[in-house]
């Protein structure tokens, strides 16, 4: 911690009174509240969006660093925080307002995604965002911008957002977008908060467009001998007229590449489509169930979690790079959307932190080179020792000056999740 930060902390110490004045229940932070190893001084648990605004306003008056939290399943994602005075727990913001006839839902940020799915499912509808990390809340999924296999057809989570209400760093609540599926009035600020890791505002509610639950689904799966063959299979399905929902690749640390194609649609047509895909994938099997591990992130607790993007045709180069990224760890497991070019991988927790940092740097360079500069590698989550060994989670971020400028205008004192985002934002 820098001397300046120390000073800020000392000055803020008398601030519990201000937080209490917000009228929101506040308790001292405990070990279980730690964010990336930093235990917050307080945890505020507002009952509603007004409570969030009151806490933010009180914290702003004293320059306290504020970190919003849903279920906390991804609370350590991003770079380590420079400061964490208050964790703002939005769990109580779980109101769901489902307009079934309009295929629209507004959900509080603290709503568990599973609960939301139950409500929508009762009307034969769904939010087509895969539950990548079990137990996540709506706010957490949006703040991390985490999308699963269905992103190929339905788009990433940000594409499904129609409107959003956030509390700004100064405690002012502001909305953008709306509750109708078609709307171009004003800036679409929801896009900006999606994936911003809580650095631009505290998301309090999100309105999504929905889809009907498809009457039938089939998965066609096939092994590929090598990455180049995997790409051929993927490309053949993309060129077909079968309109898949998802085309995934899955390669465990030790094993071959499997290509999975998910088809969804009317019962009458599904078998014919599955047969067509099957004919494109020699030796494939067809199932009415999703394969094991569908949409889950590779790796385990304590691993360094990587997200790699590439133009879809450069898949083989990225798979090859991942096989050779960490000589002491062997091939890295990989899973993700071969159809859209977003893959996830993980460096095992046993990797020496210095080696992990090196592996990330060389892998990033290789991905950027192999994709003609189009691709990227970001580290979503890493153990503290890997960060401390000098990890750069972001790499080159084009547009960073504009991002800093946005941050400066929306959070001039830098109190929202400071340090967590690209470029130290």
């Amino acid at each position: 911690m820098s001397g300046e930060d120390q000073q800020a902390r000392v000055e803020a110490d008398g601030a519990v009174g201000a937080l209490a004045a917000s009228g929101v229940p506040v308790r001292p932070g405990a070990d279980r509240d730690a964010v990336g190893g930093v235990v917050p001084r307080w945890v505020a648990e507002p009952a509603d969006a007004d409570g969030c605004a009151a806490v933010a306003a009180a914290a702003a008056r004293d320059g306290l660093a504020l970190v919003p939290r849903g279920a906390g399943t991804k609370i350590g994602w991003g770079a380590p925080l420079r400061r964490c005075d208050v964790v703002l727990d939005v769990s109580a913001l779980n109101r769901v307002d489902h307009a079934a006839g309009d295929l629209v839902v507004e959900a509080g940020a603290g709503t568990p995604v599973e609960d939301l799915a139950d409500v929508l499912g009762a009307s034969g509808q769904r939010l087509p965002v895969d539950p990548v990390v079990p137990g996540s809340t709506v706010g957490g999924v949006v703040a991390t911008g985490l999308s699963g296999p269905g992103r190929m057809l339905y788009g990433p989570v940000r594409d499904l957002i129609l409107g959003m209400t956030v509390v700004r760093a100064d405690g002012v609540a502001a909305s953008s977008g709306g509750r109708v599926v078609k709307n171009v009035a004003g800036y679409d600020l929801g896009k900006l908060h999606a994936g911003a890791l809580g650095t631009l505002g505290i998301i309090t509610s999100v309105t999504f467009r929905l889809r009907p639950v498809p009457p039938a689904a089939h998965t066609v799966s096939a092994r590929a001998d090598d990455p180049a063959r995997a790409r051929e299979l993927v490309a053949s399905v993309q060129r077909s007229h079968t309109a898949p929902t998802a085309i995934e690749v899955d390669r465990p640390a030790a094993g071959a590449v499997t290509v999975h194609v998910l088809l969804e649609g009317p019962k009458d047509g599904i078998r014919a489509r599955a047969d067509e895909v099957s004919s494109l994938l020699p030796g494939s099997s067809v199932s009415e169930d999703l394969p094991e591990g569908w949409g889950e992130l590779p790796g385990g607790p304590g691993d360094t979690l990587l997200k790699l993007t590439s133009p879809p045709a450069r898949l083989p180069a990225v798979l090859d790079a991942l096989a050779e990224a960490a000589p002491d760890a062997g091939p890295l497991p990989v899973r993700g959307s071969a159809g859209s070019g977003v893959l996830f991988s993980a460096l095992p927790s046993a990797t020496d932190p210095v080696n992990a940092v090196r592996a990330v740097a060389s892998l990033r360079a290789r991905v950027e080179e192999a994709t003609g500069g189009h691709g990227s590698l970001t580290v979503l989550d890493a153990p503290r020792p890997v960060h401390d060994a000098g990890l750069d989670p972001w790499g080159t971020v084009p547009g960073l000056p504009l991002m800093r400028s946005i941050k400066k205008n929306l959070d001039p004192d830098g109190v929202l999740s400071p340090g967590r985002f690209a470029g130290g934002i």
């Binding site: 990433p156 953008s176 060129r239 079968t242 009317p266 997200k307 500069g373 189009h374 929306l410």
Partner: protein, 518 residues
């Protein structure tokens, strides 16, 4: 017969610039005109002699976009050919405190490209190159002046197309689509421009060139692409775009169902949605718009139809056939007295002919009209249409309804005779009242035409002062000097009178003595 399309102006006081300028502004204007003339040689160095238009009569051809009611002759017009030229022009504008207005093909319907006499109009019409079609990565790289449909033309040989299809797609530019986040009849299934752009190069209002994204999705950092699209030229100018291409569907089937009244048509739409069918497009026309279309293009819709519903389905052949059978059943159940179905291109075009000609066709039954663009939750459509009918009956102003029924986007055409004194004002009142209905039902003041100048003063009816202030904070992160398409999108005191909540501190350029506020 004179055809004239104008739009709602009832909800804002008429803003004749010459009369609303406070006293003393004329002096400032003269200063700015001088500064602009001083800029011309430098603009010519950047864009070349043939890339700068100063001649008054040629400048006049740019005085408005598709919303011709708002017009202002630009101080100077530049036609850059490269991204670097665009950035240099914007850099010069920023340095001199001169406003700029971006313009694509000028087909916009909210006066978003309304020029300024004291500013530079930057038009992308000479940046029309499809740089690359990359079917392997299902994308294309294009310059901003490329016409929307030209992307599909370039991609078609590979079996791909560009999905957003605004009705002006023959001529409207991709850059304009990006500025307005354009949709089209098929956005119900395929989404808007924002869902189809992977990468952008933008020239910022400070004169920088920034690449965001590319052929891979989700570049690290904030989603600036998502925030830029739909920003109506207030955050800079897109100088290149990498857009997604979509596989041409195996089969497309278009159904036309005729009903005696709008209620039955609306019921059919509700049941289609309830059954979980997601058509590519769902369009509806009422008796008056059918009458107009018949008069204009003899589309031969079923006689006696009080409402015509067009449902288009696309995708794998088996799915389309299954869905078409379902839609047919649901329409019959809702009381359709005739259903036509077409899968061939020529037959489908016949069904679409009436719908596509509807706006222009209204000119056949009315000397002038206003096209409104508002959105209501789809389930409120029936009620809102009833309210519109009542408004029309009470005011004696005819309203023809053509709309995207699948997403609740209304395009009421408010008909009047502009030769009749006061008729325009009464029509504008009705148009404004329709917008009120949209807001009252939790909808939006614009579904696809954008805010521009036209609806800037309506923004406070949909958003709180805090919402607007937040948008303004965001805008100024890109454009601290306030030179990028000023007085568009967000309300300003000059445009709308005092607007609570919008920042009124001294403009940075004013503070530095480099500009005057007026």
């Amino acid at each position: 017969m004179r055809e004239r399309a104008i739009r709602d102006r009832s909800d804002e006081s008429p803003h004749d610039r010459s009369t609303t300028d406070p006293a003393g502004a004329a002096h400032g204007r003269a200063d700015r005109a001088d500064r602009l003339s001083a800029l011309v040689p430098r603009l010519k160095r950047i864009c070349g002699g043939d890339g700068v238009i100063t001649d008054a009569s040629r400048r006049r051809t740019y005085e408005s976009d598709g919303l011709t009611y708002h017009a202002e002759v630009p101080g100077v017009v530049v036609l850059p050919t490269t991204a670097e030229q665009v950035a240099e022009v914007l850099g010069l504008c920023a340095a001199e405190g001169v406003p700029f207005v971006p313009r694509g093909a000028g087909t916009g319907l909210s006066a978003g490209a309304l020029p300024r006499t004291d500013g530079v109009l930057v038009t992308t019409s000479r940046m029309r190159r499809v740089i690359e079609v990359d079917p392997d990565n299902e994308c294309a790289v294009v310059q901003p002046g490329v016409a929307n449909l030209d992307i599909t033309r370039a991609a078609a040989p590979y079996g791909y197309y560009y999905a957003p299809d605004p009705s002006s797609q023959q001529v409207c530019s991709v850059g304009g689509n990006i500025a307005e986040n354009s949709g089209g009849a098929h956005c119900l299934k395929y989404g808007f421009t924002v869902n189809h752009v992977l990468g952008l190069q933008i020239a910022t209002p400070q004169g920088g060139l920034v690449r965001l994204g590319g052929k891979a999705p989700e570049a690290p950092g904030y989603d600036l692409i998502g925030a830029f699209i739909g920003s109506e030229g207030t955050l800079g100018i897109a100088t290149e775009a990498t857009v997604r291409l979509v596989r041409t569907p195996q089969k497309v089937t278009t159904l036309l169902a005729a009903f005696t009244g709008m209620d039955a048509g609306g019921e059919a739409v509700s049941s289609v949605v309830a059954e979980g069918v997601l058509p590519a497009a769902v369009e509806m026309m009422d008796a008056l718009s059918i009458e107009a279309a018949e008069a204009a293009v003899a589309c031969d819709y079923p006689e006696g139809a009080g409402a015509v519903l067009i449902v288009e389905l696309d995708g794998p052949a088996a799915d389309v056939d299954a869905d078409a059978a379902m839609v047919r059943r649901l329409c019959e159940r809702a009381g359709a007295f005739e259903i036509r179905e077409a899968s061939g291109a020529a037959e489908r075009a016949r069904i679409w002919k009436g719908r596509k000609s509807a706006f222009a066709a209204v000119g056949r039954i009315s000397p002038a009209y206003i096209v409104q663009d508002g959105v209501v939750p789809r389930t409120a459509l029936g009620e809102v249409l009833g309210d519109i009918a009542r408004l029309s009956a009470e005011s004696g102003i005819r309203v023809a309804n053509v709309f995207h029924a699948g997403d609740g986007n209304l395009h009421p055409l408010v008909l009047f005779d502009d030769a009749e004194p006061g008729a325009g004002e009464r029509a504008a009142e009705v148009s404004g009242a329709i917008l009120d209905l949209c807001i009252r039902h939790g909808g939006s003041i614009t579904g696809e035409h954008g805010v521009g100048v036209d609806k800037a003063c309506s923004m406070p009816r949909m958003f709180t002062p805090q919402d607007l202030e937040t948008m303004d904070l965001f805008r100024r992160a890109f454009d601290p000097a306030g030179v990028a398409n000023p007085e568009k999108l967000l309300p300003t005191p000059r445009l709308c009178g005092e607007v609570p909540g919008v920042r009124k501190d001294v403009h940075p350029l004013v503070a530095e003595g480099r500009a005057e506020q007026f």
